[in-house]
Every structure is written in C-alpha cells, then in structure tokens.
Point group: C2
DNA sequence: TAATAAAGTTGCTTTTGTCAAACAGATTTT
DNA sequence: AAAATCTGTTTGACAAAAGCAACTTTATTA
C-alpha cells in the first residue's frame, strides 16, 4: 500500500511529542526503582499468566536476553516472581508473579494513575473522552490484532438528539462508498428519517444502536406501520466493525422486539447489491417476496403465519 | 475538573502500548549515534532558532544540566551547533544549529520517516488518515496551547454524500446540549434538509463547510428561494472551534456568494437564544425584521436597498 | 565589597542496555 | 550411541545514558 506523506509527518510529530510526554507519564517508575523494560516484563508476566518463559518474553518484548535474565534475577531475589522448572524441557523455567509481584503492579498502576490524573485534570470531560477515543483509535489501528470484540460494543435503545443525523450520515457516506450511490440516495434516506421522526413513538417504533465508545457504529430499527406489520429499516454496521457478530446481534434485538410487540410480519426493502445483508436475512428466516422486498414470516403469538 | 476512571485506564493502556512502539520508531537514532535526549535537544534547537540557551533547554526539556552540557559539547565538537556569547550576560551562550546540524536533522527525519513508512505500509489509506487524525487529536488535546488556528481549518464548497446527515447530527446534538432542544428540533432540521436536498441545485444553493481534517466542524448555507431573495441557513461552528474566526469566515463566504449571484436580500431565521450568532449577524449588517427573523439589506449589484 | 544567586561545567556514580562467550539440556546426524 | 548442532538461558565485559554534587565563572543584591 502506498503511504501518504502527510500521515508520515503527523506520525513523526506525534512521536516527537509523545517522547517528551512519556517522561512525565513514566516518572513513577523511577520512584519504584524500575526501568521501563522491567515494567514491560512485569506487565507481560501478568498478561501471559502461568505459561510465560524467558524465551517468550524475549520474543514478544524484543528485549535482550542477557538483560532480561538479570531483570528476572532481580525480580526473583525481590520475590516478585517465582520460577517453576519445565517438565518437558530442562532448560526452560515457567515464570509467574508472586502475590507480592501482583501487589507491586497494582501499586504501579495506581501511581501511574495519579500522573495521568494530573495530566487529565485540567481537561473538560468531553476533552477527556475525546482523548480516550483518539488513543483507542491509534492503538486499534496500529495493533496487528486490530479486531474489536463484541465486548467492546455497547447497545442503546433510545434515540438521542443527533442520533438521527448521524445515522443519516452513516447511511449516506457508506452507501456512497460501497454501492456508488450519490446524494440522491441521501435525499431518500433523509425523507425516510423525516417520516420516521415525525411519527416516532417508542411504543411502536424501536431503534437499536451499536456503540463503540460514544460513536454509533451500527443500527437497526423496527417501525410499526400497522397493527400487524412492521418494517425493518436502517440495518447497517460500519465496515470497520463487520464480521464480529454485531449485525446478527442487532438483528436478534430487532426480531425479539418485533415478537414482543406481537407483530406478525416483518418486512424490509433492500437491493440485490446488499449481498451480505441478504444472506443474513435469509439465515434468519426472511424470504424474498417479489421485487426488491424481502418479507419475513414471523412466529406471532397466535402462531398464524402471514 | 473531575477525571473519569475509564479515561485514566485508556491513557494508561495507551502509554503501555506506545512505550513498546517507540522502540520501533526510534531505532533510527541508534544508527546515527544519538540518544533520545540528544534528538530532543536538536529538535528544540531548530524550533527555537537563534535565541536558545542551555538554561532554556533544561527548563523546556526537563533534562539534567550536566548531561545537557555534555550533549552540547559533543554537538559542538561535531560542528552541529555553534555558540555565541551573550553580550548581556557573560555566563550564557546562545546556541544555534550549523548547516551541518540542520542537515543531520533532515537525515534523521528522513530515516525516522522510513521507520514510520514501514509501520504504515500495511495500513489501508483510510486507516492511515484515521491514524493521523487521532494522533492530531491526542496532541491537540494534551498540548497546553490547545488553540487551533484558522490555518488548520480547510473549507469546502461541495456537498458530498454523508455531509447532510452529519450536519443534521451536528445541529441536533449541539442545539440539544446548548439550548436544551429535544428530538423534535431534529425532526424540524430533518425536514429542512429534506426540502433542501430535494431541490438542491448548485447554481442557486451554496453550502460552505469548515473542515478539520475530514471532519465537518462548521457550516453555513445560502439557499436561493427566489430570483431576488436568499435564505441563510445552518450557520454553526462546533464549540471546540469557536472564537478563532471560523464563523466570520463562513459568513464572509456566504455573503460573498450571495453578492456574486446578485441576490438583493438575505434573510435568516433564528431565536433570541443564539446571542453570539445574532451579535455576529448584526456586525455584518443584518437587521431585525420582526418576529424571529433577521433580514439583511444587501448591497446588490444595482445598489438598490430592499 | 561581601554575600548570594544563577548559568554552565566537570568528576563521579548508577542505571540501562548490548554483545559475545559460556553453559546445559534437547535434537539431529552419522 | 557418540558427536555435532541447536536452543534457552546465564554470565562477564563493556558502553552508553542519565543523574548527583561539587565547582567555576559571572551577575545581582544587601
């Protein structure tokens, strides 16, 4: 892939900036007689619980073997870690934190927390959240296993001011990028949102939003059009978040809500271009009903099929 | 201000993450026989051009005096900097980069660039931009002079897919926060956007967007309702970006466009709550015209006032 | 003018990290 | 099965990075 020059510059400046900042954030290490490398070892030991060995640490932290050996030795004399000889390989030792080591890590986290708090203290709450979000983004983009898990995603059922606009934005920009739609499509979306907002009633209409932090990254809605039929709309998952089950989760919520409210039929309209979505609809019992509309024969409370 | 626990955790994890990353990004220093501190000194010398002294460096970089003295001495023997005795104070020396020092910095930037490029190489272009944006955000929030200047803002005249939705989002969420409006207001906004989109025509309608990176942070529109009258709408600057002239700049653009197209009257509708906006309108020649509408007597091409 | 302070330097020390060789157990080769 | 090779870890020697305290020189102040 090609690399954008502006991006390189920004990363470089960020790196410069952060180099000076990290002094500040890591000053608590000196107070506890630890080097940055030693901290990283400690943290890694906590993460990899039970089956870490010196070799693995060398590989994962990129640290020099000799240096690590000494760090570990000092950890051992300070009773921060304990070694357990491997049965399979007489050369290797399994390393684990002792309660004392665990305790030290807690203390370190606590004192690093105070530095951080001092850094954040002058910031307004929104700025703090924006900062956290940006840092999460950086980490997320740069880490190889950049997959987000469902655990990072929260779900919301209420429609707050700004949400409708953001949903419209997501639809407009994503469909433009992925299906080549233009602004006319956004006009259409806008119309549907207006009609929806005008008659919005939480007893008949349900909106489900998948959130990452305070950003909407997925949505679905179940709109009650009549006593018996309901339309599903605005089903979308942001491309960065696809493939981890958010779509299915949203669909489940929507179907459950439709059943709860005793709707007997759910229909939705889509186009043949939405292959992935159509596959998911089919898997969940939707059937094509002519034209571009898919109709779902729902299990209504009275068992009738429509 | 209170500090959110989640934010502290995120910053802490980010710090951990970045500590391991900075090894990678700074490996070029070893190749050039420089320490991180030495690099920071060099960079600072370039920034503070002409009037840096050892004392200032100590204060701004938080580096030890003795250590700095040695770094500077080595720079001098390598002819990377030159010293100039202060006339006012016999103890201090002014430091400046020599052409050779400047050259070295360039080389360093270049080789840091290659590390960065390697880091970015596997990323898709959008991810690269997202990364740059997030890094800019972090840096911006944390740097004391968190003021953005007009230079950081770009302006756009075209309406791209997703823009209308995002504008609606901005209006909905900001007015909710600042004026306590609820979702009904967003419904109204949605209606105006739909009407607008439906009849959008770039020859009569103009939209101006203030962008920071690829985020819309301000907007204004001039909608041609008749041959002679035009309505100004969607005037808004995101609160984080207020007070640096973005609003005035948008207003200028809008008025200029209205004049260009020979509209003789610009009107806009607002509420008394929008005090700052109203002050700006008045300053730019708008006059109240009864009710909640302000009408602007424009200088049309034929000089008539309406 | 003596006392004190500030800017910068130097000597000494500790900490941090690197490199190469050594060592011991595991694996492969002959 | 012994020799050779490989792998995970340790040790010794060393160099670079950074901090501390004493010291020199020039300014400022009482």
């Amino acid at each position: 892939m090609s690399v954008n020059l502006e991006v390189v510059r920004e990363v470089s400046e960020f790196n410069n900036y952060y180099n000076s900042l990290s002094d500040l954030l890591n000053k608590h290490l000196a107070e506890n007689n630890l080097s940055l490398s030693a901290l990283r070892v400690l943290v890694k030991l906590k993460q990899d619980e039970e089956n870490s060995t010196a070799g693995k640490l060398i590989a994962s932290l990129g640290i020099d073997g000799g240096y690590l050996s000494r760090i570990l030795k000092s950890f051992e004399t300070n009773q921060l870690i304990s070694k357990r000889k491997s049965a399979a390989d007489g050369r290797t030792w399994f390393l684990q934190l002792t309660p004392k080591g665990r305790k030290l890590l807690e203390i370190l986290e606590e004192s690093s927390g105070t530095s951080i708090r001092q850094l954040l203290e002058p910031l307004a709450p929104e700025q703090q959240h924006a900062l956290a979000g940006a840092m999460r983004t950086v980490r997320h983009i740069l880490s190889d296993d950049s997959r987000i898990s469902l655990d990072d995603i929260t779900f919301r059922r209420d429609l707050q001011p700004g949400d409708a606009g953001y949903l419209m934005h997501l639809h407009g920009s994503l469909y433009a990028k992925e299906a080549g739609y233009n602004i006319e499509f956004e006009t259409f979306i806008c119309k549907t949102f207006f009609e929806f907002l005008e008659t919005y009633n939480s007893s008949k209409d349900q909106v489900f939003l998948a959130m990452h932090g305070n950003q909407i990254i997925g949505s679905i809605a179940v709109l009650g059009h009549s006593r018996y039929a309901t339309q599903m709309r605005w089903f979308l998952v942001h491309p960065d978040y696809r493939g981890i089950g958010i779509g299915q989760r949203l669909l489940n919520e929507a179907l459950a809500a439709a059943r709860d409210k005793l709707f007997q039929k759910i229909y939705l309209i889509t186009t043949s271009k939405q292959e992935a979505a159509i596959r998911m609809f089919k898997k969940n019992g939707f059937r094509k009903s002519g034209g571009e509309a898919y109709a779902y024969v729902g299990i209504a409370a009275d068992g009738r099929e429509v």
